[in-house]
Symmetry: C2
Subunit: 286 residues, 2 copies
């Protein structure tokens, strides 16, 4: 079937839509070097990143209704040289993993950078996730790292792909805001963080340091990489052992633990606050 | 169809299973005054609460396999006078809302208490969620409140039911750990918090106080009730206006915001730390 001419509305059977659907799976993304960002928040963030030279958007699929809801989006895309392809509701649904598709899907270049690139400059706050299994958690963690002003997120080990649709959605646009570095070899990632002058803080239950103590005694004021593990199994023992400090979020009530994203939020914000206070004092980070 | 005798394995058509299934819906829970807690973590927490007099468990449905995986559970239940009903895998699945049912479901009494009961004693840290829409968020927030040592969670307005299966699962047992008080009338809940000497802190973007400033200037050291709004719409304007302070979690990066549970974790842990520090100094809370 020939592809419809520009200006016509593509259906779920149009070849470019069929091709884009393959990006819903990790293998398809890796083969094409592209992924899908769905919904207005993600599309806005993707276009803004492309405008800043921080990412590439190859195409925007949109329903007529969605373009009507987001005036200016089509212009923004065209100004960036991003072709806008009108699709039917069914085609938008075929490109979506959500129950109520928003009718806006950007085809973006993978956001991966190397650990060296992610840690370029003088990083002071880095988040490393080791063997992450759940894409929703990965996205939530990237959002937390972004909000707390972290310099980069390193995804170490055999974790899930941050370009997964659930991860992109949970990040609320943050996948486009800071460098994401996937790295298979965990020890090399730890070495690179150390080489950059980052103290390694393993977030773990039963650590020798309580987060509040670490905040008070100056530990958190130093440039740091926080290490978080898989929600079910925590950090691998060798990673915990290799860290400079093992830090626990205090549990004051009867909960066994916090979930990954909330624990990370408490840890990373405690570091951001300690570092900013140190800078305000004209300390080592200023 | 007559109910099988004790000792037989119940199917999804056995009347007591059919009756319990009605608890999957809110109307069924409200009619019966009961709800379902699924999975070993929730069932353990339910039985522990019942043992402490803090909740009631009416019955435990379990597959033979699940009982095999959790030796001691049957004894714990029987010691508490909780009947254990063997069910088929299909019956367990019928009582479950998860993709991979664990084969353990406790029928529990609703956990509601009045705001007055929830705030009895000398509360120093309370979490109030106004017009919560998403049960996963409600459960995550209850878990955060529990971990941070909050005295109670108040669910104000027309929010979702904390006894919803998703909420119970997201709370990871915490629904059984601290008083939960639903209340329709938001102003009366605010008044009751004030009457108890709690400072009202509205978590809101663009508040006049930054969380770090509030931590430094002593605001957070006072007994407080944190007010959180619906994830999409935030707090209603009259609630924000009625609070003593409007406090923002600082966004240091390019994220627009944090999600509800992570924002709450940062806020409530900041209060817990400030209050503990104040107590350590022999301050007003000691």
């Amino acid at each position: 079937m020939p592809e419809p001419e520009t200006g016509l509305v593509c259906t779920e059977r149009t070849p470019r839509v069929v091709t884009a659907r393959k990006l819903l799976r990790r293998a398809g993304r890796e083969r094409a070097g592209r992924f899908l960002a769905e919904g207005s928040q993600a599309v806005d963030a993707a276009l803004a990143a492309a405008g800043d030279g921080g990412g590439r958007v190859y195409e925007l699929f949109a329903t007529a209704e969605a373009l009507g809801h987001h005036p200016g989006l089509e212009r923004t895309a065209r100004d960036l040289g991003v072709p806008v392809t009108l699709v039917t509701e069914r085609a938008a649904a075929a490109l979506s993993e959500t129950v109520t598709p928003q009718g806006l899907i950007a085809v973006c270049g993978l956001l991966h950078v190397s650990v060296e690139t992610a840690l370029a400059g003088t990083p002071t706050l880095v988040v490393m996730l080791v063997e992450a299994a759940d894409p929703g958690n990965v996205g939530a963690l990237i959002r937390v790292a972004d909000a707390a002003g972290a310099d980069a997120v390193i995804l170490a080990g055999d974790g899930c792909d941050p370009h997964n649709g659930k991860s992109v959605r949970a990040s609320a646009g943050s996948v486009f805001h800071l460098p994401l570095a996937p790295v298979r070899d965990v020890p090399s990632a730890l070495t690179e963080c150390r080489r950059r002058g980052l103290r390694l803080l393993a977030a773990t239950a039963g650590g020798e340091l309580d987060l509040d103590t670490a905040a008070e005694d100056g530990t958190l004021a130093a440039p740091s990489a926080w290490l978080f593990g898989n929600e079910a199994h925590g950090l691998p023992g060798d990673v915990t052992g290799a860290a400079d400090h093992r830090v626990s979020v205090p549990i004051h009530g009867r909960a066994e633990s916090l979930n990954l994203a909330t624990a990370a939020a408490v840890c990373v914000y405690a570091s951001a606050r300690a570092q900013r206070r140190e800078r305000g004092r004209g300390g080592a980070l200023s």
